[in-house]
């Protein structure tokens, strides 16, 4: 018997858009289409769909023939925005034996689930004949045993649901598999869940999240905790509740699909009974033990299937029902109580995050700075499934942070690190994350804390933090990076230290200034920075914040680039690594222009002061060899020049990036060297200008070809003269003696 035999011809007017599609069907099938009235809202077109069958008939003896009568149900009002439904026209269609069917009553035609995700979205890009081809494929696969998606697996029931139930499949499967009953007399377990409801939230989107099992011995403690939270929680938007997981004693797997699921308690009771579960007994135990703390009782039914469920690691399928139990008391259960079905969602886990992002961010990172840039990078890491993140920030989130920060107003007033850790932890509600907030300044964190991490990322743009990281004895295995946005966000800079902290982070930061001489984008920044006016934002009474003006998109853009690059770097397994300066450039000109450049930086040559001043000089790679070569090439004649770089009094470090050799008016003999000045001031000033007044003269160098490894008498006199000049800048006085084999720095405050 076919459903279409009961339908009448549709005689009213058909919208043009449907007529066009009917014409398309007729062209495709070479047959005149019959238009039937399905109901007041829909028409139906009967079709015969031919399919190939395996040589010995449909797999598994499924009753599918090589010509299947189907019905195409089309909405008169909503077509083409609503996809037509493809239904079997057979009353005896083997609906209980096939996956990828929506649950439907025996009295209604079986409805094929043809495409994943949003079918209407799919149909927006396809024609009605495509739908028929997909329907033909569905029937072909059903007959060939190929409807299962991935090998020998069981496809779960397609339910029409109202709200979601978030739980870890493995948790529920483990309880059923191991028969972990709450008490021996019932085939059920009690679960601790949270029910999320919100006046502003559509009923359909109400959420239930299951966190853990409640063993009998922890019953009282669990009830006490739930009661306390329920009393404290005034908003009632998230209520801890107890729910039930029930299963059958029978080991016999159920191969058939349910054609209809319960809508009220009476139907649920019968349904459970048919599946070998005495739900009333289980509810009695639930009430006797005082778990009835909410007007809803979620009950998750475990159905044993003959094969592993598609996409999961077990053969149990779970369907969750929520009963509205307002009128329930122990032993008195209202048959008419409404039952709703919830669709399963696997909780967001580290594994799922890594699977979805295609990344394995397995190394632990501590971020110093949870400002706008840091917060976005931290979120990228967390969303990618990084399991261990530390966040250091002693600052509070304020209203003005809403312009660019990753957090939302509900966290205003919170410490940024605590708020951020709170948010990223909440991504993984059923997993224990190793996320830790350090609500303090970085220098106050015990050094051993850093040993817990593989990477330290400084996103503070703070010189104070830079100096601390530069000089503190951080664990050797810790890799260090720093990022900052400059030039109003048009330039993002990411620095990554080399192996064994050489080049060190301050080498890279300062070298970047120097490279303004070679890279136009750096020069643009340095010139602009030299003229930059800092804006004071009034953010509240007695409170102000200094910040630059920059759009949220710019911060997000650079944070994404940095996050990705850092991840790529952390994946590298080589033991020796050079330093990296990475420039992410975005020009908000007529057409947005995005580019990047990078500089690999070899380890610096490091020398300590020979005058006992504790100063250290750090020479860009190759410069020390160059100086020694000058000494050797000039035979017995002394030569010399000046050093270009900068000094840092806080770290007692002089970074030297270049030298200037002797000027035309210089003169060298075997016992002395007079460094001239011709063209030198102009040259140095030009560099100072290009680098934003940061890089310039930083000292003198001259050779001692006779290998005298100390300052000569004449040198000492000169040093005193230089000190008077340099202290006005102020810079330390630095003189490097270069012999045929050594670099000997002498530095005086």
């Amino acid at each position: 018997m076919q459903y279409s035999h009961r339908l009448e011809l549709y005689t009213d007017e058909i919208p043009q858009v449907i007529s066009n599609s009917i014409q398309e069907i007729e062209n495709f099938t070479n047959q005149k289409a019959l238009v039937l009235k399905y109901d007041s809202e829909n028409i139906a077109i009967p079709l015969n769909i031919s399919i190939n069958l395996p040589s010995r008939g449909a797999v598994g003896g499924i009753d599918i023939g090589n010509v299947e009568p189907m019905l195409l149900k089309i909405s008169l009002r909503k077509y083409p925005f609503q996809i037509p439904e493809l239904l079997s026209d057979r009353e005896d269609f083997p609906r209980t034996r096939l996956p990828h069917l929506y649950v439907s009553k025996e009295s209604e035609p079986a409805r094929l689930c043809l495409v994943r995700n949003n079918p209407n979205e799919w149909y927006a890009n396809h024609r009605i004949t495509d739908l028929l081809v997909v329907g033909q494929q569905w029937l072909f696969k059903a007959a060939s045993g190929l409807l299962k998606d991935d090998g020998d697996e069981f496809d779960p029931t397609r339910i029409i649901y109202s709200g979601f139930h978030v739980y870890q499949y493995d948790l529920l499967h483990g309880l059923v598999q191991n028969n972990e009953r709450f008490i021996p007399s019932i085939t059920g377990a009690v679960l601790l869940s949270t029910y999320y409801q919100d006046e502003n939230r559509p009923k359909k989107d109400e959420l239930l999240k299951t966190v853990s099992n409640v063993p009998f011995i922890l019953k009282n403690k669990a009830i006490e905790v739930v009661k306390t939270i329920q009393q404290k929680n005034e908003v009632k938007s998230s209520l801890p509740v107890f729910s039930l997981l029930v299963w059958s004693d029978s080991d016999f797997p159920e191969t058939e699909y349910n054609t209809e699921l319960p809508k009220n308690y009476r139907e649920l009771k019968l349904y459970m009974h048919n599946h070998g579960i005495q739900i009333e007994n289980i509810l009695n135990v639930f009430y006797e033990n005082g778990f009835d703390l909410c007007t809803y009782i979620p009950i998750t039914h475990a159905i044993k299937r003959p094969k592993k469920i598609v996409g999961f690691n077990g053969s149990y399928e779970f369907i969750t029902y929520t009963i509205y139990v307002k009128e329930f008391t122990k032993g008195k259960y209202n048959d008419e109580a409404e039952v709703k079905i919830r669709s399963h969602i696997e909780p967001f886990s580290f594994d799922l995050a890594q699977k979805l992002t295609g990344e394995s961010r397995n190394l632990a990172t501590i971020y110093v700075g949870a400002g706008s840039l840091g917060s976005k990078m931290i979120l990228h890491d967390a969303r990618s499934g990084k399991f261990k993140i530390g966040v250091v920030d002693n600052d509070e989130l304020l209203e003005h942070n809403m312009a660019r920060h990753a957090l939302f107003p509900n966290k205003v007033g919170w410490n940024k690190s605590v708020a951020l850790v709170n948010e990223i932890s909440s991504l993984f509600t059923t997993h224990t994350s190793q996320y830790k907030a350090f609500e303090t300044k970085v220098e106050e964190i015990p050094v051993q804390e850093f040993a817990e991490y593989n990477w330290l990322v400084d996103s503070t743009a703070s010189t104070l933090v830079l100096n601390y990281i530069t000089k503190s004895a951080l664990p050797k295995k810790l890799s260090i990076a720093r990022c900052e946005l400059v030039n109003e966000g048009k330039l993002g800079l990411l620095y990554i230290e080399g192996s064994e902290r050489n080049p060190r982070i301050d080498d890279l930061v300062n070298l970047t200034y120097f490279y303004a001489n070679s890279y136009p984008k750096l020069k643009e920044w340095r010139l602009s920075d030299a003229k930059r006016e800092i804006i004071n934002l009034d953010v509240g009474l007695g409170c102000s914040s200094t910040t630059t003006v920059m759009s949220d998109e710019l911060v997000s853009f650079h944070s994404s680039v940095f996050s990705k690059l850092l991840h790529n770097e952390t994946e590298k397994t080589q033991t020796k690594r050079d330093g990296l300066i990475y420039m992410s450039v975005i020009n908000n000109s007529d057409i947005l222009d995005i580019r990047s450049e990078h500089i690999i930086v070899k380890p610096f040559d490091i020398f300590n002061c020979k005058a006992g001043s504790n100063w250290e000089i750090r020479l860009i790679s190759g410069l020390a060899d160059k100086l020694i070569t000058f000494c050797r090439e000039n035979g017995n004649r002394e030569t010399g020049g000046i050093l270009l770089g900068l000094s840092n009094y806080k770290t007692k470090t002089i970074h030297i990036f270049d030298i200037v050799t002797e000027t035309q008016d210089s003169a060298g003999t075997c016992s002395g060297f007079t460094r001239g000045t011709k063209g030198l001031p102009e040259y140095v000033n030009n560099i100072r200008h290009s680098t934003g007044e940061v890089i310039g003269y930083i000292g003198e160098w001259h050779t001692h070809p006779m290998n005298l490894e100390k300052l000569s008498e004449r040198d000492l006199v000169t040093i005193e003269e230089l000190k008077n000049i340099n202290m006005k800048v102020p810079i330390p006085t630095c003189a490097i003696i270069v012999t045929n084999s050594k670099i000997l720095p002498f530095i005086f405050d």
């Binding site: 395996p54 040589s55 010995r56 890009n125 396809h126 495509d130 494929q137 060939s144 045993g145």
Partner: protein, 387 residues
């Protein structure tokens, strides 16, 4: 996970069949890769193969190549499209040309001697390179791209007896492919057998590697989900011996070695399968050939990898041969010709998915994607006069 399938390519009079197992293992039985042009009547076999085959280090590779014999219509395109030589020397240029690495080749020395053309010579040369590595016990001999299996026996002028561990002889079952043991797939070797070497009429008769591909649903399944017979260009004389030997050793019962769901009509549906040619002088099929066809299982299909079969005296394909097959099948629709599926103007491979209930002809899954469309330059470059 791949779908277990057999794909018969439309290559005119010639053979080119790809077997894919659910673990992705690929076996190509013969090749006849012709130059493609815009003419859709010549199917682009190479592109399709590249889409199906796995890649290792971005290089396409085939697990096993079985050359049934060296006639050009069974090995055309080998030299151009398949990589030959030390696999370590696979170059950027090879990659650019998409040369397919053959991890393991099956080689019958006794058949190789009977044929000569550029592609067959290249196949033989590559086989001998690999055999030499194995003879010399080279440390590279077992690398993918150096592996080889000897099928059948050695001709009088060759002696590979020191490589018998690489040999598979008629009457045996092979379940290792490309150094991987398969639990649900195997091959029963039927030919070539020793009689081909000693037969007084050996030059007159044509032989090939003949085998039965055997698929199971599970390793423990008692029955086969699909049995497919590949006979190359073997003639009725070969099949006479195959029938006799298989029955003698009761392999038709014990191993179901003659049963078939898919039967690739030998020599492109030639009359030689049934009797000597010309058919008008030898119109009665040999009983042995008919008896082989009687091993058909329910729903069995014969595939003619050939040109379109016309009602004339051409051979192959031969019209009367087709009629004989249809008589045995009992159903015209179970006889499939690669030249006309789905259409003569644009033939496409005939692909069977292997299910537990036997092979099922795959159905085209393609649907249009874009709902929008735009005309080409046709109308735009045409002068349109409007009133």
């Amino acid at each position: 996970m791949a779908q277990t399938s057999i794909k018969y390519y439309p290559v005119g009079n010639g053979d080119n069949t790809l077997i894919t197992l659910n673990d992705g293992t690929s076996l190509l039985v013969d090749c006849n890769i012709r130059e493609c042009s815009d003419d859709k009547s010549i199917y682009d076999v190479k592109s399709d193969l590249l889409g199906k085959l796995n890649k290792r280090n971005n290089n396409p590779y085939l697990d096993v190549f079985i050359l049934t014999h060296g006639d050009w219509d069974h090995c055309r395109g080998f030299n151009k499209h398949f990589y030959q030589g030390d696999p370590k020397n696979y170059s950027d240029s090879d990659r650019k040309e998409n040369r397919i690495i053959i991890d393991e080749m099956w080689f019958s020395p006794m058949i190789a001697e009977e044929h000569s053309n550029d592609d067959e010579d290249a196949y033989q040369k590559e086989a001998e390179r690999r055999l030499e590595l194995h003879k010399n016990k080279s440390s590279d001999k077992d690398l993918p791209g150096n592996r080889i299996k000897i099928v059948g026996y050695d001709p009088s002028n060759k002696n590979y007896s020191d490589l018998n561990h690489l040999r598979a002889i008629p009457g045996t079952i092979v379940s290792d492919f490309n150094c991987k043991k398969q639990s649900t797939f195997s091959i029963f070797i039927h030919a070539p057998f020793k009689e081909h070497l000693t037969s007084a009429e050996k030059d007159k008769n044509s032989t090939s590697i003949v085998f039965q591909a055997r698929f199971k649903e599970y390793s423990f399944s008692s029955d086969f989900s699909c049995l497919a017979i590949f006979g190359g260009d073997s003639d009725y004389y070969s099949w006479q011996i195959i029938l006799e030997k298989t029955r003698k050793h009761q392999n038709d019962i014990k191993e179901k070695a003659l049963d078939w769901d898919l039967f690739l009509a030998p020599h492109h549906c030639s009359w030689t399968y049934f009797n000597n040619t010309p058919q008008k002088d030898n119109p009665k099929p040999q009983n042995s050939s008919l008896e082989v066809l009687s091993y058909k299982r329910k729903g069995g299909k014969v595939i003619s990898s050939s040109k379109k079969i016309m009602n004339n005296d051409d051979n192959p394909p031969h019209y009367q041969a087709k009629q004989e097959y249809i008589k045995k099948l009992g159903n015209t629709s179970d006889f499939l010709n690669t030249a006309i599926e789905p259409t003569e103007s644009e033939p496409k491979p005939i692909e069977f998915i292997i299910t537990s209930n036997g092979p099922v002809r795959n159905m085209d899954t393609k649907t249009g994607h874009a709902i929008t469309s735009a005309g080409g330059s046709g109308a735009a470059s045409t002068i349109i006069k409007q009133g």
